[in-house]
């Protein structure tokens, strides 16, 4: 029997430790629940690589939410983690539906075999995190119509045709907004002398 099975302290105990700055708190929580969460994801998506990607996203979201104070203890930490996992799985299949690509079984061609984390070391992850943060801040400073088109195109993966339909503008208007958004973003980068290169 593994050592953690003898640990009778509640999840909330480790959550509070993590929030108060003790990194081992999240370590314990992940170790305690990883197999169940991973198994759930894998059973639904039936693809090892995809399951790993979603699993990572789940716990990254958990970390972000705990740090942002978005989790309120009701003694149901694992249910909360499962809900995050379930929603991320749904997001994946919605995206898949939108892309009209259906197959992701291990036995077939895997179009979702993301290796985005495979070669990362801590420094890579930290640089990416910083760059993400800086780009997000820049996007947040764009005019609303330009920010909307960036979000729809780059974060939701919509085509310009879909964006035009959803926002009730012509494709040319959507393209124009994207163009101005990029011009403004480049300008802000120059003005702020930001280095957003991911080496």
């Amino acid at each position: 029997m593994k050592l953690e099975n003898f640990d009778l302290k509640s999840d909330q105990y480790y959550i509070e430790r993590f929030i108060s700055g003790d990194k081992s708190g999240i370590d314990t929580l992940i170790t305690r629940h990883k197999d169940r969460v991973y198994t759930y994801i894998y059973l639904i998506v039936k693809n090892k690589d995809l399951a790993e990607d979603i699993f990572q996203d789940v716990f990254i979201k958990v970390i972000q939410s705990l740090r942002a104070g978005k989790y309120r203890d009701n003694g149901k930490f694992l249910a909360w983690v499962f809900r995050i996992a379930h929603n991320l799985i749904i997001d994946h299949f919605r995206q898949e539906k939108m892309n009209k690509v259906y197959s992701n079984d291990d036995s077939e061609l895997d179009l979702f075999n993301s290796e985005k984390y495979s070669d990362d070391n801590c420094e890579d992850v930290m640089i990416r995190s910083q760059v993400h943060s800086e780009v997000k801040n820049l996007v947040d400073r764009l005019p609303a119509d330009q920010k909307e088109i960036i979000v729809l195109r780059h974060y939701k993966g919509l085509s310009f045709k879909e964006i035009a339909d959803d926002t009730d503008v012509s494709i040319n208007t959507a393209l124009g907004r994207m163009r101005y958004a990029l011009i403004n973003l480049r300008k802000m980068i120059e003005e702020n002398q930001l280095n957003l290169l991911l080496s």
């Binding site: 249910a79 299949f93 077939e108 930290m126 780059h154």
Partner: protein, 81 residues
């Protein structure tokens, strides 16, 4: 009924209608399944060990994390190129 949905999803194959799959997925209430203990029992019956390398990466992220993780790489490339 609800556990039937989980069973359906688990036995789903790519040859079946993906829209039905998504509908089934969306119909599931995790809170209900967790409350009843059915989901945990179902999972524990076929428990798979999560790869250790994954855990290291998440902890690494946790240490490096400062802000929200969002897929900014593509946009970043677009801005710079």
């Amino acid at each position: 009924m609800r556990m039937n949905s989980i069973s359906t999803l688990v036995s789903w194959t790519s040859k079946m209608n993906p829209e039905d799959f998504l509908s089934e997925l969306e119909s599931i209430s995790i809170d209900d399944l967790m409350g009843s203990g059915d989901l945990i029992k179902f999972i524990d019956d076929s428990l798979i060990e999560a790869p250790a390398s994954l855990i290291k990466k998440i902890l690494c992220y946790s240490n490096a994390h400062r802000n929200m993780k969002t897929p900014y790489e593509d946009l970043n490339d677009l801005i710079l190129n």
